[in-house]
Structures are given as C-alpha cells and as structure tokens.
C-alpha cells in the first residue's frame, strides 16, 4: 500500500508541476482557469491520497470546500475577468 501511495504521490507531483507550467505560460486567462481547475482536482486527489495512507478523515471537509470554491473561482473568472483576452487566438 505504501509503495502504491508513493508512486501515486510522485505522479501527482509531476502532474501538478506540468499544470503549473501551463498556468504560468498561459497564453490567455481562460487557459489559466482551465489549468486552475485541473490543479484543484490534483490537490483534492493528493489530500485524499494522504487520508487513504494514514486512514484518517480530518482532511475530508477540506475536499468538500475545495470542490465548491474551485467552481466559484473558475466561473467568476470566466464570467467577469475574461474580457481582456480579445484578439488573442490560442
């Protein structure tokens, strides 16, 4: 079990790094929002991994909050802050 969890943690770390690369390079705000959604999913997966390793449930409320807050963040950016993207086409 511990070996599997470590392999999973390594994969999640690489994934988070790649997503952060996309978030840094952009090129538009909406690309960063998509990357942020994926990063939130990765963070939720990482917290769940830690809960599964140590068999505790202290971090489970954080998962609920993260899945809701990520939604509010991406929707508000897509609705209100994406209008400076005009003209860029990737």
């Amino acid at each position: 079990m511990i070996a599997v969890i470590w392999v999973c943690a390594a994969m999640l770390s690489v994934a988070a790094f790649l997503v952060l690369t996309r978030m840094a390079t952009g090129p538009t705000m909406l690309n960063r929002v998509v990357a942020m959604d994926v990063l939130i999913a990765i963070v939720v997966a990482g917290l769940g991994l830690e809960a599964a390793l140590n068999r505790h449930a202290t971090t489970l409320p954080i998962l609920v909050v993260l899945s809701l807050v990520g939604f509010v963040g991406s929707v508000s950016v897509a609705r209100f802050a994406a209008h400076d993207d005009k003209g860029e086409n990737t």
Partner: protein
Amino acid sequence: MNIADVVSAACLLAGCTLSLIAAIGLVRFPDLFSRMHAGTKPQVLGLLLVLVGVGLRLRDWTDIGMLLAVAMFQLLTAPVAAHMIGRAAYQGGAVRQDTLLVDELTSALEADDPGQSGRT
C-alpha cells in the same frame, strides 16, 4: 492487507495516472478547447476513482457520505464551469477555426440574427 485495500490501491493508481495524463495533455495540446478536453479527465473520472479508493480504505459511513458529497458537488459544478469557460472563449474570439471539425454555434447564431457576424 485485504481485498478492499487492493481494490483501493488500484483505484488510487488509476486516478493519479489519469491526472498525470491530463497534465501532459494540458501542456501539449494546441488550443483552449482541446486543453479543456484533457482537463476534464482528472476532474471527473480521476477524482471519482480517487474518492472510491479513499472510501474503500476508510470504510466508515460518515466518511463515505462526505466523499459522496465531494463527488456530487464535482459532478454538478464541473459541467457548469466548463460551459462558462467555453462560452467566454467563444465570445472572446479565442476559437481557432482551423482545429474545429464541426462548428454549429456560428451557424446557429447567424441564423438567429442575420446581418451580425456571429459572435455576439
């Protein structure tokens, strides 16, 4: 280590693999819509697999209820967020026409109000 632990480990491994694959796709795909396609994999299936893995490992009904709440919120909110992002991208003109196979929205908008160029 019983059978539930083995299934849990398999689910966790599959979910994390999906996250990694999606991150690679997010870096390598050329435009916003294909990146959204890659990004939905860990958001729905990957996250559900990880939650199933955690639930099989914890085996407590209170925790499983909370995990179900996470899964339900994610399934409810991910399509809405993706729809808002896709709509904002289309209206902002961030759509690459050469990578689209089918574009029903432009013709629908033009049929809806003729004389406009579509992106209203």
